[in-house]
């Protein structure tokens, strides 16, 4: 599943290998009892479940942040929020002078920052407050800063449409949406191989049955624009951000949008695509210097070098920005020359 995967680069080779394996199998059964992605793609299959995308969300049994902070409180917009975890279950309570509304926390979406999906009177709500790792506490959920609730229900959270809630579960979990309908009984946290590598499950099952297997599309063929749209299905595409007019610092978390606004973004070039810097099968690398190689893939070739430094490019050209009025800090993917005092380019 990586660029180096021979099976998809040279179909004849994988066929030959399977023919050989089939021969071995005939000569010396048994075949492995269960074929999984890890059977062939061991490194990726081992590391990916531990990544942010592999985790995706927390169900009641393993809500680590709430386990570490069994009681979280905050006052926002005149309402009191209290998140408590007792006996292995979390409760989200909002109250004011008029009363209180308490709901079970079934779904905590995210990894470092957790936003809660709540069910109330047959509808889904995005919690008005989010757990932010940076402050180890609660704050207003990103994107909801302008909401001024008028009652406990509105203060509890923002009612979301069917389309939006399906998008939430589809990007944070697996099996939660099927044929355009919510199927939460089969929801599992995080993204599995088949989420990005469509057809991977069928490919694996065919191989397990000893049949010729259709090879999923090789994502390494994608150049920058196509990959931005692909990853943007969850991280937001340039079109979706502009179409929804999500301007200002809050759009710093929509990396494909920010990247496409960069002067150096060339849609037909693989050197500026998402995977040029990020390997989705391993956790996010946080050392600035580790990204220099990607920058120098273009800038050394054109002799256009930086007059200030020759390393840690992203520390200047991709500044850290707070997402609107929240404690969540993001790397701005709009790569540029940043001058002190410049306004945020929306």
């Amino acid at each position: 599943m990586t660029d180096g995967c021979p099976g998809t680069r040279q179909p004849w080779l994988v066929t030959a290998v399977w023919v050989a394996l089939a021969g071995v199998a005939q000569a010396a059964p048994p075949r492995p009892a269960k074929v999984t992605c890890a059977t062939c793609h061991r490194a990726e299959a081992q590391s990916q479940p531990g990544t942010a995308m592999g985790i995706g969300m927390e169900l009641p049994a393993n809500q680590e942040a709430l386990q570490a902070h069994p009681k979280l409180t905050v006052e926002e917009n005149g309402y009191h929020y209290n998140l408590e975890r007792k006996n292995g279950a979390g409760t989200y309570t909002v109250s004011d002078a008029s009363g209180a509304l308490s709901l079970p926390i079934k779904y905590a979406l995210g990894v470092h920052n957790l936003t809660f999906v709540l069910e109330y009177q047959g509808s889904f709500y995005e919690s008005m407050v989010t757990y932010y790792q940076k402050i180890e506490g609660l704050g207003i959920t990103m994107g909801d800063e302008r909401i001024r609730p008028h009652n406990l229900t509105e203060a509890m959270g923002r009612k979301v449409s069917d389309q939006e809630i399906m998008a939430c579960f589809n990007c944070h979990g697996t099996g939660g949406v099927s044929q355009g309908k919510l199927t939460l009984d089969s929801l599992r946290p995080g993204l599995t191989c088949d989420h990005c590598h469509t057809g991977a499950d069928a490919h694996m099952q065919a191989l397990a049955g000893g049949k010729p297997a259709p090879v999923p599309r090789k994502l390494g063929e994608m150049a920058a624009e196509e990959m931005s749209n692909f990853c943007g299905q969850c991280h937001r595409t340039w079109e979706s951000v502009v179409g929804l007019r999500l301007f200002g610092e809050k759009n710093v978390r929509f990396q494909p949008y920010r990247l496409a606004n960069s002067q150096c973004f060339l849609g037909d070039d693989k050197r500026i695509r998402c995977t040029a810097c990020h390997n989705p099968h391993v956790d996010l690398v946080r050392e600035d210097a580790s990204y220099d190689r990607a920058c120098l893939a273009c800038h050394s070739a054109t002799q256009k070098t930086c007059p200030v430094a020759d390393k840690n490019c992203v520390s200047c050209h991709m500044p850290k920005v707070l997402a609107a009025e929240t404690p969540a800090l993001f790397t701005d993917h709009q790569i540029r020359v940043v001058h002190a005092g410049d306004p945020y380019p929306q």
Binding site: S161, D162, Q163, E164, Q179, G180, K181, T198, A223, A224, E225, E226, N229, W238, E239, V242, G243, R245, F247, A260, N261, F265, L266, G267, D268, D269, Q346
Partner: protein
């Protein structure tokens, strides 16, 4: 109306003795005096005599047109502004009034062109005049079958708080994609059209609960009304795409030739990553409704998602030319150019899209968008065959 005509006739009788003037200058002075004294029929006659003496007298044509318009004399108004714009084609108000008069006299095709011309020049149009011009322009765009463009104009008018029956009927015809003016709607369809318009207005105003109830009531009362399931599907497509697709399929069962329903179904299938499912609907819609912005856009989106860049760009460029005010078309084209390595084109479209989205810029109405954006057929052929 009758009272106005009687009043005009009386004024004409009173004013008649003063109509003879020795020179053009005396005639012009008398006309201005009559206008200032609010002796409208007298002023109209004097201006008429003046422009007969001197056909290049712009002030005469101007006041002859405006006074005729104010007194519901649309034919005379039309002639006056037709002459005026031949002398000065840079006046937004003149083009606008010419178009409004032509609307009233039933010359709908030139009215559409001339209202567009007025809006294209009309940065200085008074807001109340611009609102009226856009309303009539929207009605005419719908009548010509350019429903998306017409919808935008009617929406602007409705957001201003208007709710008169003609607007509701216009919104209803537009929403059901029936290419008619309110006064042309057959009597047996008016109730369904009004129901559709009422629900559409709630949707425009963001009163979605009332809008949805209205759409459901429409389909309960008129389950087979042409365009009804398409309209409800369009409403649902924002929040419940699966339900929206079912409505579009239902519309296609009832009206297989509804290319808009086919195009919207294809678009939702693209969003659902079902490209093999989307392609036949998009192709069929584009074939049935050629040189139409929505069908060109959707077919372009499908081709783009399939990585078929060259024909995708041709389709998207056509859609953009047909309807340059549609943000979605510019955004899609930006992505297509970017993917194809046309970096400067991509940046230009991205900048334009951002300006449109932030309200910094509205794309100017150009010659090709004069009639809702229909370019000459030869242009379309050339584009598609590239």
């Amino acid at each position: 109306m009758l009272r106005a005509l009687i009043l005009a006739a009386v004024l004409w009788t009173i004013a008649a003795p003063g109509l003879r003037a020795a020179t053009f200058d005396e005639l012009a002075a008398q006309a201005a005096a009559a206008r200032r004294a609010n002796h409208i029929p007298e002023a109209i006659e004097l201006y008429r005599q003046g422009v007969q003496l001197r056909a290049s007298w712009m002030e005469g044509w101007w006041f002859l047109g405006t006074l005729s318009y104010a007194t519901y004399q649309y034919s005379g108004c039309e002639s006056a502004f037709d002459a005026f714009v031949k002398l000065d084609d840079k006046r937004a108000l003149a083009w606008s009034l010419l178009g409004l008069c032509e609307f009233e006299t039933g010359k709908y095709d030139p009215a559409l062109d001339h209202l567009r011309q007025g809006l294209a020049l009309g940065k200085d149009l008074p807001p109340e005049v611009e609102a009226g011009v856009r309303f009539h322009y929207g009605l005419l765009l719908s009548r010509a079958g350019f429903f998306d463009q017409g919808k935008r104009e009617l929406e602007r008018y409705a957001r201003g708080g208007a709710h008169e029956p003609m607007l509701i009927e216009g919104l209803g015809l537009n929403a059901l994609h029936q290419p008619l003016l309110p006064k042309e709607a057959p009597a047996e369809r008016v109730d369904a059209v009004m129901q559709a318009g009422t629900a559409a207005r709630f949707w425009i105003l963001g009163e979605n609960d009332k809008a949805e109830a209205g759409f459901q009531e429409l389909l309960r009362d008129y389950p087979a009304v042409a365009g009804g399931h398409y309209l409800y599907g369009t409403y649902l497509s924002y929040a419940r795409p699966e339900d929206a697709m079912a409505e579009f399929r239902r519309e296609l069962e009832l009206n297989p030739a509804n290319a808009d329903a086919g195009a919207m179904l294809a678009l939702l299938l693209v969003y659902a990553n079902d490209l093999p499912g989307a392609l036949p609907y998009a192709r069929k819609a584009a074939a049935e409704r050629p040189a139409y912005a929505l069908t060109e856009y959707v077919y372009g989106k499908v081709l783009l998602a399939m990585g078929d860049l060259r024909p995708a760009i041709a389709r998207l460029e056509t859609a953009e030319r047909l309807d340059p005010a549609a943000l979605e078309y510019h955004m899609a084209l930006a992505g297509a150019y970017s993917w194809a390595g046309r970096h400067e084109d991509a940046r230009r479209e991205r900048r334009l899209s951002m300006d449109m989205a932030t309200g910094a810029k509205r794309p100017e109405l150009n010659a090709q968008s004069a009639r809702g954006g229909a370019p000459p057929p030869e242009t379309i052929d050339k584009t598609i065959k590239q």
